[in-house]
Chain length 319, copies 2
């Protein structure tokens, strides 16, 4: 019998998004980094999500997550309104323009982990205040792998705290433009190498429709995104990428010791995890919010993984 996947804990936002893209708009749809991450990761492994929402947040969504084996016991529902992000995209779908951010109840978010959540095997610190990310790391006991995302707002606003969190994580997943901002470099590889010196031995540079670059020690892996014919809404692509990436590794029961004990296998599993991330992200952009994932089945997921493998291979792939 196959072993159980490792369990994943993510801490971050569950929110409303109002989004305008070249193909249409959607008002107050469900979003938030930890939400997108959880939905994507749930295709691979059990996930616990820790966050805070207002009383306007639909309980039906939490029930839907629970039905997908996402543990929502760490989502606090408090009086007030949920986090609401308003943004838009022009034809360059790789970069969002934030029109407004209403933190609402999120402003007072102070994650306090339950006894069970402190024992999490994997931790993904979604893009939130690095002070909160540090607080989560202080609470978990001995995770086997810790990954983190961040953004320009924190890189410029709380640089010291971002530096502190970088020292305590295994993997940083970050947008290309934000990697440039963090390092002052104008080149992905140089930026990734400089980030490694700040802490994480594994750095993933996300490049929107051009895919992702992985730097693991000295090993570079470059994965294209799966070419979708029409991108409807890129929101959540990076978080669903991270969800599938961590989910794949959790399913394979990989931990950081493997980098030392079996570096070749570690590198190849990281590569496969990146490819899984790219495929998941290619689904989420095909509709607003994470709607596309609500009708995604395992068969489609595997078919697209194979398809992307064929698109990157120099040998005929018969899978």
């Amino acid at each position: 019998m196959a072993q159980q996947p490792y369990s994943i804990l993510t801490v971050g936002s569950l929110a409303f998004d109002s989004v305008q893209t070249p193909t249409g708009k959607a008002d107050r749809i469900l979003g938030g980094a930890a939400n997108h991450f959880s939905v994507a990761a749930s295709f691979y492994a059990p996930v616990s999500v820790v966050g805070i929402v207002g009383q306007d947040f639909p309980e039906a969504h939490l029930e839907w997550l629970a039905a997908r084996k996402v543990d929502v016991s760490g989502v606090r529902i408090v009086p007030g309104k949920s986090f609401h992000w308003v943004g838009s995209y022009t034809y360059d779908l790789n970069e969002a323009t934030t029109l407004s951010t209403a933190l609402n109840v999120f402003e007072h978010f102070d994650p306090e982990l339950s006894e069970q959540h402190r024992g999490a095997q994997y931790v993904f610190l979604a893009n939130i205040d690095p002070v909160l990310q540090l607080s989560v790391l202080d609470q978990v006991r001995s995770p086997k792998l810790v990954a983190c995302d961040t953004m320009n707002f924190w890189i410029t606003g709380k640089p010291e705290e971002v530096r502190k969190i970088l020292k305590r994580i295994d993997i940083l997943s970050i947008n290309e433009g934000e990697a440039f901002l963090l390092t002052g470099e104008k080149n992905s590889l140089s930026a990734a190498e400089m980030i490694q010196k700040m802490g994480p031995s594994v750095v993933i540079i996300k490049r929107g429709e051009y895919g992702a670059m992985l730097l693991n020690g000295e090993n570079v892996f470059i994965a294209p995104s799966f070419p979708v014919r029409q991108v409807i809404d890129p929101t959540g692509a990076g978080d669903s990428f991270a969800g599938a990436f961590m989910g794949f590794l959790a399913e394979a029961r990989v931990d950081r010791d493997m980098a030392r004990t079996d570096p070749k296998a570690w590198d190849m599993l990281l590569r496969r995890a990146v490819l899984n991330g790219c495929v998941m992200a290619s689904f989420i952009v095909e509709d607003f919010g994470f709607h596309r994932l609500t009708r995604l089945n395992q068969h489609e997921l595997v078919a697209r993984q194979k398809s992307l493998l064929r698109m990157t291979s120099l040998e005929p792939v018969d899978l």
Copy 2:
């Protein structure tokens, strides 16, 4: 004994370039699409270049080309000044801004092929007036493979002629932005599919630092560029890509019939050709003009090809 590679004919510009990039500037260095193409292709196969230059063009360069087995008998030297392009790049090194174009003697370019050049086995129509590209195709007898490049200036200025040339070529190699302009699409794959309907069964969408997408019939291949640490000057990257691409196929003696007789091998050879193109382009951007190629040796070329293979592979590559 190995068979001789096929011979390649290219028609286009040999020119002076004055370039400003974020890392420096170079004044009146040697450039031109057919020039860059020839230098790159000469690493693989014999090339003949047809073009026109003024009396200010250094004969030493033509001699240097000849020493590299580039047949320069088709380069006419006429009274007047050579084509001179002045351009600049900002930190987005994927797109040049043309500051001035002095066609000079190129304005009266009317390629008339010698008897030997009419028998060329491969033809690469570098980015020139599509009227001239059509004239070249009228003169060659029965090439085994014809590829072509074009740009926004001709797409908007001579759309009918561009359509005519597309009907008569096997392969179009084009920048992503220009593919969008040509088709009205905003998506690489859809644009490539629409270009196929205009004629060429093989379409290569060049994406600058993000590599290239190949569409061969229904088969998609996505290759990353080799990540160089510092791009000094992107000028000529697309033409040296095309040079290595065509050179690789010429060395392998591939012709268009293979698409029918051995479609799998055809597809895999096209993929390898694209990877060779990406590697060659990664060298040329490391210095101004094609300077980097003047000190490039076969050992370095092969080493970087292997390195790029490793960066795209999901299996350990021991080459």
